[in-house]
Symmetry: C2
Subunit: 199 residues, 2 copies
């Protein structure tokens, strides 16, 4: 059984909501999840698209939509005033953590999401991200070194480029046995697809 590939940008509001729901979906369908943060900018280079928050009309709509999803789900959601941050340091930090302990990567990602969307964590700042290491039994200076490690930097870039080459262009974006599902609002369809073993 292949895992569900879960591609997301740490600055994506819809990915935040997906991150709250993917574990339960994973349990229900009996598939593991491969958490894969990436920079949406990697996809924008190919699609020519722009982020929601850089697009007139969509910007205001998305803020309204996120607020009502949060309310409907009973979730705390505070968009940082500087949204969207370029979460490259947090993304590299994820892959450093994963290299140390694959099992901790998912928890680290959820910690980053909670930090960004609830506590104003500056995911674009290595100095702000590094102390999160303490929650996972690592020293901030080691995570800081990981964020600038050329191997981690290359891996972060290469994974993203490979994903885009396989058709990934949004956040969240799921791949299951090669089948693509774009958006938090496709999770239900993905679950049906997995349970029916295709259609």
């Amino acid at each position: 059984m292949n895992p569900i590939e879960f591609w997301f940008d740490f600055s994506s509001g819809y990915a935040f909501f997906a991150a709250q729901e993917i574990d339960a979906l994973s349990s229900r369908v009996g598939r593991t999840v491969l958490w894969r943060p990436y920079m949406l900018g990697t996809a924008y280079k190919v699609t020519g698209a722009r982020g929601l928050s850089s697009t007139p009309l969509k910007r205001d709509y998305a803020r309204r939509d996120w607020a009502r999803i949060a309310k409907a789900r009973g979730l705390s959601f505070q968009l940082p005033p500087e949204h969207p941050r370029v979460a490259l340091p947090a993304t590299r930090a994820f892959y450093w953590i994963e290299a140390q302990d694959p099992g901790a990567a998912r928890c680290f990602a959820k910690r980053i999401f909670a930090g960004y969307f609830n506590e104003g964590l500056d995911t674009a700042s290595p100095e702000a991200v590094a102390p999160v290491a303490l929650d996972f039994g690592y020293q901030p200076e080691d995570l800081m070194a990981g964020i600038i490690d050329p191997v981690i930097k290359s891996r972060t870039t290469e994974l993203a480029e490979d994903a885009v080459a396989r058709g990934v262009f949004g956040s969240p974006f799921f791949l299951v046995d090669g089948e693509p599902f774009w958006g938090w609002d496709r999770m239900g369809m993905m679950e049906e697809w997995i349970e029916a073993a295709g259609w």
Copy 2:
């Protein structure tokens, strides 16, 4: 009770699916629906966005997504080879029909959708659209005259520009008591919102 404003482009695959489901939703929630075709290009001028079929990666994804939605819903869906057509003549024809008989407009819209997504109707050609008039008790030459009537042309443009000024930018896009819902995949949320009288 305000109606549900249903904004769409006749060339939008997701709008086709919404058009198949909006009547049942309307009955369940006890709200009428105001069908409002418009040119997505009117919104693109403001957002800077492009259509799915003009966007790398999204183009292929959308075709796959439409095919599986059609399969899941048991609907016939044949994307014309020339997709996306610029459906301005069909849109103007809608407003001419509506001006003659408001009650027939919804049926006319469904007829155009079925024609475009199942029968290869060229919605960009007044000559191809005009004969549809016969199904509604009008003469093709009268509909043809309506399509080029300056009053109808102005109304088509003005309705679209007014909608975009009120935040409409996608297809399908719904407005209910001022609350916006973008996408076929937001119809469930819209229904919950109406039934809960907001949240």
